[in-house]
Symmetry: C2
Subunit: 207 residues, 2 copies
């Protein structure tokens, strides 16, 4: 493995490669090529070969890539050969849907604690979880050693809750609230906002 | 306005500028600067000035930008000074949450039809909507002239449903199913997948 830092734009493509390879593997496919992957995910074969070359030798020219080997390598690189516990904060409609979502299993993640500040919700059950009081986030998250959180609180509450999560030791936040978070350096934040992505598309539409 | 095509990477940042400007405006702020915007959204002031320069003169050096003027310009560029009707397909937990979400209002979007293929769901009400039979998607979407869809069906169904949407005249799809869609050229697709974004972050975490 080379020692230069991997550009973030390359890192951002690795989960897509992994997802596609897992799907091929589930369908019984054992080898693939950059052309095959390209046709499935819409990234050029040259780009895929270049991305993979960042991580050393993933396959041999001509014989293709072993899918199980690639999956194992990508899972290790992305550190999802571990299981990351997740704190989910905000149990409205969206938080509910996420708490009940089965898709995190086997992808390196497990929701381990759910929080809300609404007395009517605290103590209620959602799937396997009992909703805990968000006033207790710091001791609970610290005790569990949770590093990853998903934020599904209203926009007006997001910055404050995110700061509390950081104080509790969280270093990566997936933020569904439609607001940019201002957090200390070293804290990773990713955003999910359907409006932003819809508006990106309407630019190109004929009205 | 210049006639060169705007790079997609610039387009992708415009909704974030708009969101942040709307938030400032709601808080009563009337002018801003590239430095001010930069501090709020974490994009460099130089990049913001360069992006805005793609669209001609948005502000004068020294006096700052008028927030209402910028909002109006960005809404027109992104074509969200119109209201785009949306078809939402797949009324599981996530579809439910989206159908009930109030955040689309005033952002250029309105969910206008919701579909599912489950007889137990068809005809039921979610908020203001009656769930319609997805077998009727083509005539209903054609009649309504809907161009934008949100896809919250299981991964195994997503490709087929997306093809039906395209046949009905949809040209932009926001896909929540964890699978890459293979659609004709000219169809815009954006993806929302928490696993992809979580895995992007774990690359950087200390385990």
């Amino acid at each position: 493995m080379k020692l230069e830092p991997i550009p973030d734009i390359v890192v951002s493509r690795l989960p897509r490669y992994l997802q596609s390879l897992q799907r091929m593997h589930q369908a019984g496919q054992l080898t693939t090529s950059s052309q095959d992957l390209s046709s499935k995910i819409g990234i050029s074969a040259a780009q895929i070969r270049k991305d993979f070359s960042q991580f050393g030798e993933f396959g041999k020219q001509g014989t293709g890539y072993s899918i199980p080997f690639l999956i194992e390598q990508l899972e290790a690189i992305l550190k999802v050969n571990l299981v990351w516990e997740i704190a989910l904060v905000g149990i409205g409609d969206l938080g509910h849907a996420i708490a009940r979502y089965q898709g995190f299993t086997n992808q390196g993640f497990k929701i381990s604690a759910v929080f809300d500040n609404d007395p009517a919700r605290i103590g209620t059950k959602i799937g396997d979880f009992v909703v805990q009081d968000s006033a207790q986030m710091i001791p609970i998250i610290q005790r569990m050693g949770i590093k990853v959180a998903m934020l599904t609180v209203p926009a007006s509450a997001a910055q404050g809750v995110a700061e509390t999560l950081v104080n509790a030791g969280v270093t990566a936040i997936l933020n569904y609230a439609p607001v940019v978070l201002n957090l200390p350096p070293g804290i990773r934040v990713e955003y999910i906002d359907p409006i932003i992505q819809l508006q990106h598309m309407t630019f190109y539409l004929q009205s």
